[in-house]
Amino acid sequence: MREQYKKAVFSLSFTQHFLNYIKKVEQKQGKTLHTNGVPLHYVAVLQIILILKDNEMSTESISYHFNNILGRGINQSSLSRTLTYLHETLALINYADNPFAEDKRYTYVELTGEGKKLQKFFLGSTQEPIPAIFGSSKLMTAI
C-alpha cells in the first residue's frame, strides 16, 4: 500500500473501532445510545483529546485547539456535556470539573485504558495488520 493512503486507513480504522466500542457499550447497557448516529462533536472532541499531550489536557486547551484546528468554536457548557458523556457513558476519559474550587486537582482530563487503545489506532501507532477490506480492487488503497 502506498504511504499516502495509510493515513486514510488509520482514520477509518479509528472510526471503525470507535463505533465498535459504542456498540459494545450499548450491548452492555441494553439500550441504544444514538438513534440518529453519533454527533460529530463527540468524535471531534475525542480526536482533539487523542492528539493532546498528557499534561496539556484541560478544558481550556481542548477548546482552544478545537477552535484552531477545526475552525469552529465549542462553548464551555457544550464541551463539558461532551466530556461528561465520554467519561460517564463511554468511560474513555476520566473527567472532573469544579469551576469554583481553587485547587486545580479538582479539574482534570485524562485518558483511560480504553481511550489509550483508541489513541493508538488514531495515531497509527498500532502493530495490528491492515484489514483485508482495504485490499479490495475497487479501493485506491489496493494499489
Binding site: S63, G73, N75, Q76, S77, S78, S80, R81, T84, A96, N98, P99, F100, A101, Y106
Partner: protein, 137 residues
C-alpha cells in the same frame, strides 16, 4: 436532607434552562441555537458558599458562566456569533455607502460637539453694565 434540596434545585434548574432554550432557540420567534447549558451535581463543595457565580470564559465568540446553588453546578453559555439575519450576501451600493458615511459623520459630530453657553445680554445689562469708556481725546 441535603440530597433532597440538591435534587429539587437540579430539577428546577433543568426546567428553567429547558424553557429558556425552547423560547430562545426553538420558538417560532427565533430559531437560532446560541444558548447551551449543563446541570450537574458538584462532587467537592467544602468551604464553598451556598450560592456563587463565576464567569468561566468571556471572549469574542462566547460567554460562559457557572452558577453554584447548593451542591449543583449550572453552566450556561451564550454564543456571540453574527446572526444569519445580520449577514449580508449582496454588495453595498454607492448611495447606501454615501448615506452610511453621512450618518457616521453626523454621529461623530454630534458626539464631539459641545454647545457653548449663550448669555442673554438683555438680562445682564442691568446688573453688570459696563461703563462707557470715554475717549481721552
Amino acid at each position: 436532607m441535603n440530597t433532597i434540596i440538591n435534587k429539587t434545585i437540579m430539577v428546577v434548574a433543568m426546567v428553567v434552562c429547558r424553557v429558556i432554550h425552547k423560547v430562545r432557540c426553538q420558538s417560532f420567534l427565533r430559531r437560532i441555537d446560541d444558548f447551551s447549558y449543563e446541570v450537574k451535581p458538584l462532587k467537592v463543595t467544602k468551604n464553598l458558599p451556598f450560592f456563587k457565580k463565576q464567569i468561566i470564559v468571556s471572549n469574542d465568540w462566547e460567554k460562559s458562566t457557572a452558577l453554584k446553588i447548593g451542591g449543583i453546578c449550572i453552566k450556561y453559555s451564550f454564543d456571540k456569533l453574527v446572526k444569519y439575519r445580520d449577514v449580508r450576501d449582496t454588495e453595498i451600493t454607492e448611495p447606501e455607502f454615501n448615506e452610511n458615511v453621512a450618518i457616521a459623520l453626523a454621529r461623530v459630530t454630534s458626539e464631539t460637539h459641545t454647545s457653548t453657553n449663550i448669555i442673554k445680554l438683555e438680562s445682564k445689562r442691568g446688573n453688570n453694565e459696563r461703563a462707557i469708556q470715554k475717549s481721552s481725546l
